[in-house]
């Protein structure tokens, strides 16, 4: 099974290596804009309880960027399934179906982490202060895994490219803004906050912010992310198996 996971990952690694420079450069644009606009510009006039807004913002940007990159990196599987039909090559191969899901998710996690590394580098250049610990990395990896799995599931069940865009519009975009990325969820009405605190990105933002500022991080939130990761894996795997019905 490990060899099969490596094979699926190898395919994405070959493609990523070929496009590495383009990938890295394009991933710098959005975080740079966030850091300039919200960190330097708007951030100067925002009080977040003593610390700088930039320090508050960076974990949020890491959370939302790792979500977006992991999700969007796996979306081409949709074209492989619906348009190019190249997914058939994996379906008829003597490999364990879970190897395909895990290999694709890991390849997207790699992209999510590379992109996060760029943000960490830029944030340091912008003067942000935060601590990166093993738990911080674990949370980041879990966030990438969850959204890569959600992307994989969407790529397996959605029929058209337009509908894929709707997942972005109705799920990722609201989460990007509401899940404690740019402001604390404490500012929201209770009912909305209760709902938002069920979402994985809220836990990621909170954990990264807490650990990044030297705190221990709520292990309950880590557990929630792990449960999301397991559930989303089963969802994606089930959708992949159902392709053969």
């Amino acid at each position: 099974m490990l060899y099969d996971i490596w094979t699926v990952f190898w395919r994405d690694w070959v493609v990523l290596k070929r496009r590495m420079v383009k990938f890295l450069l394009s991933r710098m644009v959005a975080p740079m804009l966030y850091l300039v606009a919200f960190g330097w510009g708007l951030g100067r006039s925002i009080d977040v309880g003593g610390g700088s807004y930039l320090d508050f913002l960076v974990p949020g940007i890491l959370a939302l960027n790792s979500m977006n990159i992991s999700f969007n990196s796996i979306i081409p599987v949709h074209a492989e399934r619906v348009y190019h039909k190249s997914l058939e090559e994996y379906i008829i191969a003597p490999i364990c179906p879970q190897s395909f899901v895990i290999g694709k998710v890991l390849a997207s996690v790699l992209r999510g982490l590379l992109s996060s590394a760029i943000i960490v580098g830029l944030a340091v250049l912008f003067g942000a202060r935060f601590t990166v610990t093993p738990l911080f990395l674990l949370v980041l990896v879990l966030n990438c895994v969850i959204f890569a799995e959600i992307g994989f599931w969407a790529a397996m069940v959605i029929q058209t490219y337009e509908e894929m865009g709707q997942v972005n519009t109705y799920i990722l975009l609201p989460m990007s803004f509401l899940c404690g990325t740019f402001f604390s969820t404490n500012a929201l009405p209770d009912v909305l906050r209760w709902f938002i605190e069920l979402l994985p990105l809220t836990h990621t933002s909170g954990l990264l912010r807490c650990i990044g500022s030297g705190g221990d991080g709520a292990m309950g939130s880590v557990l929630v992310l792990m449960i999301y990761a397991v559930l989303c894996f089963f969802l994606g795997n089930r959708a992949f198996l159902r392709l053969r019905r």
Binding site: W10, V15, S86, E88, E89, Y90, I91, P94, R245
Partner: protein, 295 residues
């Protein structure tokens, strides 16, 4: 000598959910109780008009879609119980070009070899050998989208052969290809069979089936309606055909012997364009599947 069946299909059924004319949930039967067997080393053709169920059959046999009912055995092993072992036995050439568009020719081949757990040295040697075999060595580093239609088809076939399958499935292998390329593909398929590979192909080109196949099965509306050697099927229909123009349509009659056909033709002296000839597989196909199919 009786050869053992390499593929044995028992009462295979595939139903798909669909919406009927009144938009209610219903089931469409694409393959309806198909039973047949394919011998080791033979080239077996599955013929049928569009929508007959050929591609669905191949998709079930290659585990791309699960049968609703029925069982399939490969070399005595039941498909569902030995799925991964059977996947190692088979190679699949799809009807459409399904290469990974982000990879080069060589990378597509390598992906297939890796998916079949071939070691580095073995896969390099095999990929080189197969690309030389179909004269595609020079495009090994090109993206697949840069290849011509004929090159893509040849590449699809050799990709399916990398792991040395004992059974090769070809779904409409020469669809939309020009006659020169079609003949080259036929030569390639014959060479596979000479090397001991069992070939199972679907086609709606009758001359392709006549040129290649040891035996053919004819499907229509999901059901098997005839199976046998092309010559045998022609003999069953009547080895000689008389055709003539009548009231704006072409009419056909079949006779077991040439003299009977000639006598009948002599009585049609007043009719236009009377022709006596040998019955071919196309006559059998059209008689069995109906003249209006595909219109």
């Amino acid at each position: 000598m009786m050869q053992s069946p390499m593929i044995e299909i028992n009462s295979l059924v595939k139903r798909f959910p669909h919406k009927d004319v009144e938009n209610r949930d219903a089931w469409k039967t694409a393959v309806d109780g198909l039973s047949l067997s394919v011998r080791e080393g033979e080239i077996f053709g599955l013929l049928g008009p569009n929508g007959a169920g050929k591609t669905t059959t191949i998709r079930m046999l290659t585990m791309q879609t699960a049968p609703t009912e029925g069982r399939v055995f490969y070399d005595g092993k039941e498909l569902r119980e030995h799925e991964r072992d059977i996947k190692r036995l088979i190679g699949v050439v799809p009807q459409h070009v399904n290469f990974d568009q982000d990879l080069t020719v060589g990378e597509n081949m390598e992906l297939h070899a890796r998916l079949h757990h071939m070691g580095k040295a073995e896969r390099r040697a095999r990929i080189g050998e197969l690309l030389r075999y179909v004269e595609l060595s020079e495009v090994v580093n090109d993206r697949v989208r840069q290849l011509s239609g004929g090159m893509k088809r040849r590449l699809l076939i050799v990709r399916a052969l990398i792991h040395r399958p004992r059974i090769l499935f070809l779904d409409e292998p020469t669809v939309a290809l020009d006659p020169q390329v079609r003949r080259r593909i036929w030569d390639l398929v014959r060479r596979m069979a000479t090397d001991g590979v069992t070939v199972f192909l679907t086609t709606h080109y009758i001359e392709e089936a006549e040129a290649l196949c040891d035996r053919v099965a004819i499907m229509n509306k999901g059901k098997l309606i005839a199976v046998g050697q092309p010559l045998e099927l022609c003999r069953q229909m009547g080895s000689y055909t008389v055709e003539w123009d009548a009231a704006g349509t072409r009419e056909y009659r079949f006779f077991p012997h040439r003299n009977e056909a000639a006598d009948f033709a002599a009585k049609l002296a007043s009719e236009e364009k009377v022709l006596v000839r040998r019955t071919n597989l196309e006559d059998v196909f059209i008689e069995l599947t109906g003249r209006k199919e595909g219109l």
